[in-house]
């Protein structure tokens, strides 16, 4: 199956300060962009005016997982073969898109994860507690899904045809990262990690996940397991 239609999905929740720069950067890649406005209360619509992006809006905030799933549903409707997940907060470089898509385009992978720890790609700037949380998350993910990634919570991913068709996100908030791994394991999808650079700004750091939120994720995952 040749991959032809590729969409970049950008979930946005109150990112007015940086979204314009992020999208300008992304539009340079030439791929169509789906912006999922997750109930932003800022001036996002005005900022987007004039930008050639596909815009979808949740009438109130549901969470990043829900926004990604809405974006993927729209991509499926538009006949997408592949999608790229891209954070709005300006910490991802548009150059990562082609790196993520390469294994998908050559057909060697169903899903590609961005990792800031594969090479020395700026991970050293991370504060100690964040690194500790990410390490713990890696092994928890491994425990739950049997998949050990070098970077447990990286927003950059590319999903090829099979992954886009199989993966459905039901975890509305941040637990979707673990949910994706569960589904990769369940459907036996071929995955790979590629090194990506993360640009840490005071803005993106402030938006990073807290230690407490990882407890939330743990409980979300446990609860879902018990319901099965």
């Amino acid at each position: 199956m040749t991959v032809q239609r590729i969409y970049i999905i950008v979930p946005v929740y109150n990112e007015a300060a940086v979204i314009s720069a992020t999208l300008q950067d992304l539009l340079g890649t030439g791929y169509p962009v789906i912006v999922v406005d997750d109930g932003s209360t800022d001036a996002l619509p005005q900022i987007l005016a004039g930008l050639p992006v596909h815009y979808i809006r949740h009438c109130f905030n549901l969470g990043q997982g829900a926004a990604l799933e809405t974006g993927m549903e729209e991509a499926r409707r538009l006949g997408a073969d592949a999608v790229v997940h891209f954070d709005a907060d300006g910490q991802h470089a548009a150059g990562a898109v082609s790196v993520l898509l390469a294994p998908i385009l050559e057909g060697s992978c169903d899903i590609v994860f961005g990792s800031r720890f594969l090479e020395r790609s700026g991970a050293g700037q991370l504060p100690f507690t964040r690194r500790l949380v990410l390490q713990a998350a890696r092994y928890l993910n491994y425990l739950f899904t049997g998949i050990l990634l070098s970077d447990a919570h990286n927003g950059l991913r590319a999903l090829g045809p099979l992954a886009l068709q199989k993966i459905r996100l039901t975890q509305d908030r941040m637990s979707h990262a673990t949910e994706i791994l569960e589904e990769v394991h369940e459907y036996g999808l071929r995955y790979r990690e590629v090194p990506v650079t993360i640009r840490y700004s005071p803005y993106s750091k402030a938006k990073g996940q807290s230690l407490l939120n990882s407890v939330n994720i743990l409980f979300d995952v446990l609860f879902k397991k018990m319901q099965k």
């Binding site: 169509p32 992006v53 809006r57 009438c59 109130f60 549901l62 829900a66 549903e73 509305d172 018990m226």
Partner: protein, 115 residues
């Protein structure tokens, strides 16, 4: 281990497991509520009966027995509500998503791209 400890532990475990496995039928929830209500009335009418039952189970006083049972029951209730909220949340998500997808393009602040 006193008999009461065994029973309460089993009940707590059964609460968790049964909740996720079987008790999702509203009818069963009702039976449970009625059962608890009737038992409560019996204990109110014959207060000494709780002390006697507590004695059999190895608990000192009837009031203590009721206290333990209440804790188990409330735990169950909290889990029940938690699960209902989760279910509602996923429905809300589905609704918001459908509405968002329906309006995609119409509410578009810019020209949408369809390659």
């Amino acid at each position: 281990m006193k008999l009461i400890q065994l029973i309460l532990l089993t009940a707590l475990l059964a609460t968790l497991v049964s909740y996720f496995r079987w008790f999702r039928k509203p009818a069963l929830d009702k039976v449970l509520v009625v059962g608890v209500g009737l038992a409560g009335m019996v204990f109110v009418i014959f207060p000494d009966s709780t002390t006697r039952i507590a004695g059999w189970l190895g608990v000192g006083r009837g009031a203590d027995l009721l206290f333990y049972i209440a804790i188990v029951a409330l735990t169950y209730l909290v889990l029940l509500l938690y699960s209902k909220i989760k279910k509602l949340e996923s429905r809300v998500t589905e609704l918001v998503r459908r509405q968002a997808l329906l309006e995609a393009g119409r509410e578009n602040p810019s020209g949408e791209v369809r390659p």
